[in-house]
């Protein structure tokens, strides 16, 4: 691809992984070109920029692609380091942040997917798992303003996009996030007071419409 100056993000509107990158860019005040991908007909640019995984998001900075959402967020933090640090400066606190972001990565999306894809006993098992995940995260958050303490940080960026999926999880699996993890719900509201989050996250009802569309497409009642 041409070595064009500037920042471009290849993304898909409902992707929580893409939203991480968008929130990080907004926190840093970085101007960029947003390109919506049709995931059923991926662009040449996407396939060239991420030949291994062929997935969004991909950040393209001065013609160079960076893939994988948490890697993109760290790249953004390290490149535009003069403003809004997302990772703390202390190595131990950084390790904690990386661990919890990795925890969100490994647990939330996959378990969430099971909640709308599965039925019956399997769905119940997934619901139990999701409640456990939310309660672990709630314990980690504690009474802090954000996962990063007073500062909106790496773990907040990693997890907050999934909050617009809570309504879908609740509706599909019949439970209440507020009942099982009230601090998480309060934290989500605090995050929505930030412009970067408020302007990035889709309406939960729109996410649910998307889930219903996926269920139809995959023949899941």
């Amino acid at each position: 691809m041409a070595s064009e100056k500037g920042v471009m993000l290849l993304d898909f509107w409902v992707s929580p992984f893409g939203q991480r990158a968008r929130i990080a860019l907004a926190e840093k005040g970085v101007e960029y070109e947003y390109k919506e991908e049709n995931l059923r007909d991926k662009s040449e640019l996407l396939l060239k920029s991420n030949p291994i995984h062929k997935k969004i998001p991909v950040l393209i900075h001065d013609g160079k692609p960076i893939c994988e959402s948490l890697i993109i967020v760290q790249y953004i933090d390290e490149t535009w380091s003069d403003k809004a640090p997302l990772l703390p400066s202390d190595p131990y606190q950084r390790a904690q942040a990386r661990f919890w972001a990795d925890f969100v990565d490994k647990k939330v999306f996959e378990c969430g997917g099971k909640l709308w894809k599965l039925k019956g006993e399997e769905q119940e098992a997934a619901k139990t798992e999701m409640i456990e995940i939310l309660q672990i995260l709630e314990a980690q958050l504690g009474d802090k303003k954000y996962f990063g303490g007073d500062i909106f940080g790496f773990v907040d960026v990693a997890f907050v996009p999934f909050t617009s999926w809570f309504y879908s999880y609740e509706t599909c699996a019949n439970f209440s996030v507020e009942e099982v993890a009230p601090k998480i719900v309060k934290w989500a509201k605090r995050c929505m007071e930030r412009e970067s989050v408020e302007k990035t996250l889709p309406d939960p009802k729109k996410v649910y419409e998307f889930v219903r569309y996926l269920k139809k497409r995959f023949g899941i009642e």
């Binding site: 960076i66 890697i71 993109i72 950084r94 390790a95």
Partner: protein, 227 residues
């Protein structure tokens, strides 16, 4: 030598993730106390330090636990500045992290399937693994190591494949054929294993093959999860 009685590593002798941390500690000349865990009977210390995943490796520095081997590697690099293992440039760091995640998530998944499964599923996993090895082979074009002239973070991350892939092949009876198909990768495996810090920090091969043979017989009910 950076003396530090305050550094402890909880590990298991056959675990590639644990060795990865030991390689990093030794590259930096950090002294540490090693504690061997019996994963079928985990110590209360391990469970206290890693209550979420209950796995090895766990690095404990000044009583603070750090878990997940790639997270530990970055912690080591940021805490002890001599012999840096990650590059300075953000783009190069992103690439290093990309390859580390690729081998830890994707290659490990296909290797696991090739190891545990049989028949068509095994064949499919080996095919997928070869596609992944091709990507790694291409990445090594013109380079001695993934990190350049010297081993670094990416080599330490991919390192398990240099030794444990061969062990898995022998224990489970399959061949990924990298010596024939992927000359750069094959050459890298030999060069990596010849590095003093690596060569002197590998488990005994025969014993490891036996361990993995037994591991396979236990099947997918294994509790030995390593990060």
């Amino acid at each position: 030598m950076v003396a530090s009685a305050a550094v402890r590593l909880f590990g298991m002798w056959a675990s590639p993730a644990v060795r990865r941390v030991e390689w990093a500690l030794k590259l930096k000349g950090i002294e540490y106390e090693y504690i061997e865990e019996d994963l079928s009977n985990k110590s209360s210390s391990l469970l206290e330090f890693n209550p979420i995943n209950k796995q090895v490796p766990v690095l404990v520095h000044n009583c603070n636990p750090i878990v997940e081997s790639l997270v530990i590697l970055e912690y080591i690099d940021e805490t002890w500045k001599e012999n840096p293992i990650l590059p300075v440039d953000p783009l190069e760091r992103a690439k290093a992290r990309f390859w580390a995640t690729f081998v830890d998530v994707k290659c490990r998944e296909e290797s696991r399937k090739a190891f545990f499964m049989e028949g068509e599923e095994k064949e499919k996993a080996i095919e997928n693994l070869q596609v992944q090895l091709k990507a790694l082979d291409e990445e090594l074009e013109g380079k001695k190591f993934f990190s350049g002239d010297h081993i670094g973070y990416t080599d330490l991350a991919v390192g398990w494949m240099a030794f444990w892939l061969g062990v898995a092949e022998e224990a489970a009876g399959f061949k990924a054929n990298y010596d024939v198909k992927f000359p750069n990768f094959s050459r890298w495996m030999k060069d990596f294993l010849a590095e003093p810090v690596i060569k002197d920090n590998l488990p005994p091969r025969e014993k490891t093959v036996e361990f993995f043979r037994a591991f396979k017989q236990l099947g997918s009910c294994t509790k030995v999860n390593q990060k």
